[in-house]
Amino acid sequence: MDELLTGSVIAVNGPIVKAVGLKGIGMFDIAEVGPDRLIGEVIRLAGEITIIQVYEDNTGLKPGDEVISYGRPLSVLLGPGLIANIYDGIQRPLVGISEVCGSYIRKGIKLSPLDTAKRWDFKPLVSSGTEVKEGSIVGEVQESPLVLHRVLVPPGVSGRLTRIADAGAYTIEETIFVVDTASGAFKGKLAVYWPVRKPRPNKNRKKPFVPLITGQRVIDTFFPIARGGTAAIPGGFGTGKTMTQHALAKWCNADIIVYIGCGERGNEMTDVLTDFPKLIDERNGRPLIERTVMIANTSNMPVPAREVSIYTGVTIAEYYRDMGYSVAVMADSTSRWAEALRELSSRLGDMPAEEGFPPYLGTRLAEFYERAGLVETLSGADGDITIVGAVSPPGGDFSEPVTQHTSRFVRCFWALDKTLADARHYPSISWIDSYTEYLIDIEDWWKNLDAEWLATRNEVMNILLEDHRLEQVVKLVGSDALPPSEQYILFCAEMIKNAFLQQNSFDPQDKFCSPEKQIKLLKSLLTLYKKGLERVHAGVSVKDIAALTVVSEIVRLKSEIPNQDLAKIDEYVLRLEQGLSALKPPS
């Protein structure tokens, strides 16, 4: 290893370069190509010929140009300084790039992903002479006001700690601790490299049981996801995938957010970049940026780097999980990643499967989503990664390969609905086409808040399903032809949509709805349904119920009652009950 291999280019076809002469190079090793030393990765070996995908614009590259490699795999640098940073797909710091070459990304730039000059305040937690093993925590660094960075003994290293630095300020390049291992002394630093395509090891995997609270009512109440779970958000353009991802990244209660903008719009990343430092997390009063790592490989940046960006992101997530944190990964959009895969595979001349995608699309997606999960880390703590992947099906057609394959590997499916988005009903998550498999797993958590949670949720869900069935009839005969009790179901469903499902992520009260508030709102609507239905059976007209002032007030509770002031909702429910009882059927 670390021996310099050299070879030369023989052919160039877009970002795919063929080279000869690199004897002994391995799969997924980094190769530096041409006079600009463009970064590439070995993706195939065919006899004498090495096939390299180049992560930067390679126009001007010629046959005969030199290729070099140190025989090291493509890796990310993990250490303090990741938080609040923004990287391209191969972990080059975008802030650093802008300082070196201005507003545009020029090729051939090499910068350390982490600041090598910055000194971090390190606090040792063990003393020398202790036996340590892989994953042991030897010290900590306050990386951001929200994140305490734990310094771990890397996987594969164990033995006696022969030296550990005193409390003080160190750079990521200084030796902090030394472990006497069977194969010699290992010098530990604050930062460590890890190959992107290789999952970091853990002790064992566990079954998720705690919900990831997102503050989004349709998700938390109807289609919840567990910490350590996987979810997909498929939706055609304009249905609000990115808006939903942004809302989750802002308000979900994970410790760390890794936001991967994969082949998406530049301005959207700028939105995150300008918004997150300003938005304050209500739970701790700190800006959201202090728990966020961003990967931005926008649609106009080189395609191969897009392919690797999701691995870069998930490797960073695994690093924080190993410290015992709960991490949420937002990947927007996995379809663009799949397209990158298709483009590269087509240039390699692979035999295509469905719609030109390579046959290994499903395997790759499965590998990616499998890196989520609740685990017992090597240090013995619990940590988890939740992955939420956006999917952009062409023409909004869910039968296309990426959506289909993804739905096989995720357990939560938040289908976005064009009709809802057109009516500006956000989040436009369809309550008909979405599903979650985590309901049973997390029921106990909700039971602690409210013993009847699942029953209430299911009753309200049934009103919505009944409404969906009746809508088909209404389309044919009109709602006036239905009996009053069924008209009342339509009315209540409409109330549930406006007062509960629809949520404004820019409204100060409504953007985050606490689980307690969700339960209260849900119950007020169920009261409306149950008590109201009794009155309808007694002959009261639906119109009279709808005309009650308190009914139109309930629609506004979501944005008028703050999370801290829930007792007020009870007052409205009381008034609702009184109002309903006071209604008399026409004589």
Binding site: K62, P63, R106, R265, S299, V303, A340, E343, G395, G478
Partner: protein, 464 residues
């Protein structure tokens, strides 16, 4: 760089591609000069190189070229065009060469037409409201300086008039600044180009506009460079000369067809409807060249126009465009047939950057909620109309009938306006309130109480 070598023979020609054998030291993406037997110059670019052979796309097309007697020189750099302020007021072909009879622009500033990706960190998030004077856009699908907002149209619909109206009326509310317009035509008819030039001339903006034409009779491959030439000049003017540039690209469907033609003659594996698998990335490399930069004064706002084949919004061209651009203005055949101008569809149209460019201090506090309410109420109108088509209008409930009245008024008063009519945002919002006031107060559940208090004004006659 080795001395330029001239190669005299081709080993093959296929569609817009030529193959040159026995080459040495040719770079990927290099520019190629091709002279046919009579000495006429064409420009090409290498798409693939290996040790013996180069595949070259010829922008002017290959008709008239023969295998023998064609001379090829590899220039050893990427395609560049001259950029300068002096280019305003001029007309160019797709490769940036003047075609208005006036001499070549003299400048030593040359820029690569492919540009470089903007660092997301260096972007400034767009939030300056552009008043286009068109209610359907300003009120409900607001255009923001630095945004890319395409018009999805169909054949026969007035997308060109709408684009021309935007070019003429667009201004920033606070500063009253005007736009420099860059117009790029790919594969459109001469009449369409003429219409734009005339309307720019009438409104007096032609002198600070630049026009890039690759008309329907030009070789299709030239269309692939045309938008890039236009955007290269736009980037220069916006980011080096601090100007506000509005780029109109028409028709992106023709651009995509040229790309499909090229891909198929290269023998690539097709994706949907024969378009190449990289159509998304290729379109992104055009559309993403819009925006603002940190610390810079200028901006590029893009209004690409595309015609949806058989009005199908799920066709790959509009579909992939919609995934890249920040919203879309969709023209609707039904409205067009009713004689409504501009026939901007209420529901499928969207501006993603709207939320941050409107509201208090930018337009008016109630703007966002009025827009949301109009969308929601109009969506209900659509549902009721579908029902009325089956059960008949008489069978509808009283409230449903009120909604139908609202729907008609919305289309005929709010959406509808004259080609010359330039409405201020205040006017647009007030008309919006007049529409909403046709509905009962309780139906306005997307609007804050105090705004209803202030602006809701049910008509007196109905009260009596």
């Amino acid at each position: 760089m080795p001395a330029e070598i001239e190669y005299t023979n081709l080993s093959g020609i296929s569609g817009p591609l030529i193959f040159v054998d026995g080459i040495n030291g040719v770079g990927y993406g290099d520019i190629v000069e091709i002279r046919d037997a009579s000495g006429v110059l064409r420009i090409g670019q290498t798409l693939e190189v290996d040790e013996q052979r180069a595949v070259v796309q010829v922008f002017e097309g290959t008709s008239g070229l023969s295998v023998q007697g064609t001379r090829v020189t590899f220039v050893g750099r990427a395609l560049e065009i001259p950029v300068d302020r002096e280019m305003l007021g001029r007309v160019f072909d797709g490769l940036g060469r003047p075609i208005d009879g006036a001499p070549q622009v003299i400048t030593d500033k040359m820029m690569n037409v492919n540009g470089l990706p903007i660092n997301p960190w260096s972007r400034e998030y767009p939030r300056d409201f552009i008043q286009t004077g068109i209610s359907a856009i300003d009120g409900m699908n607001t255009l923001i300086r630095g945004q890319k907002l395409p018009i999805f149209s169909g054949s026969g619909m007035p997308h060109n008039r709408i684009a021309a109206q935007i070019a003429r009326q667009a201004k920033i509310l606070s500063a009253g600044e005007e736009f420099t317009v860059i117009f790029a035509a790919m594969g459109v008819k001469f009449d369409v180009a003429r219409f734009f030039i005339d309307s720019l001339e009438e409104s007096g903006v032609l002198t600070h506009s630049a026009i890039f034409l690759s008309l329907a009779d030009s070789p299709s491959i030239e269309r692939l460079v045309t938008p890039r030439s236009a955007l290269t000049l736009a980037e220069y003017l916006a980011f080096e000369e601090n100007m506000h540039v509005l780029v109109i690209l028409t028709d992106m469907t023709n651009y995509c067809e040229a790309l499909r033609e090229l891909s198929s003659s290269r023998g690539e594996i097709p994706s949907r409807k024969g378009y190449p698998g990289y159509l998304y990335s290729d379109l992104a490399s055009v559309y993403e060249r819009a925006g603002r930069l940190k610390g810079g004064k200028g901006s590029i706002t893009q209004v690409p126009i595309l015609t949806m084949p058989s009005d199908d919004i799920s066709h790959p061209v509009p579909d992939l465009t919609g995934y890249i651009t920040e919203g879309q203005i969709v023209l609707e055949r039904d409205l067009f047939n009713k004689g409504i101008y501009p026939p901007i569809a209420g529901l499928p149209s969207l501006s993603r950057l709207m939320k941050d460019g409107i509201g208090e201090g930018r337009t008016r506090k109630d703007h966002g909620q009025v827009a949301a309410q109009l969308f929601a109420s109009y969506a209900k109108v659509k549902r009721i109309r579908a029902l009325a088509a089956i059960v008949g209008e008489e069978e509808l409930s009283g409230l449903d009938k009120i909604y139908l009245k609202f729907g008609t008024a919305f289309e005929e008063v709010y959406l509808s306006q004259a080609y010359e009519e330039n409405r201020s945002i205040e006017q647009t919002l007030d008309i919006g309130w007049r529409m909403l006031s046709l509905l009962p107060r309780d139906e306005l559940y997307r609007i804050a109480r105090e705004d209803i208090q202030r602006y809701y004004m049910p008509q007196k006659e109905e009260d009596k």
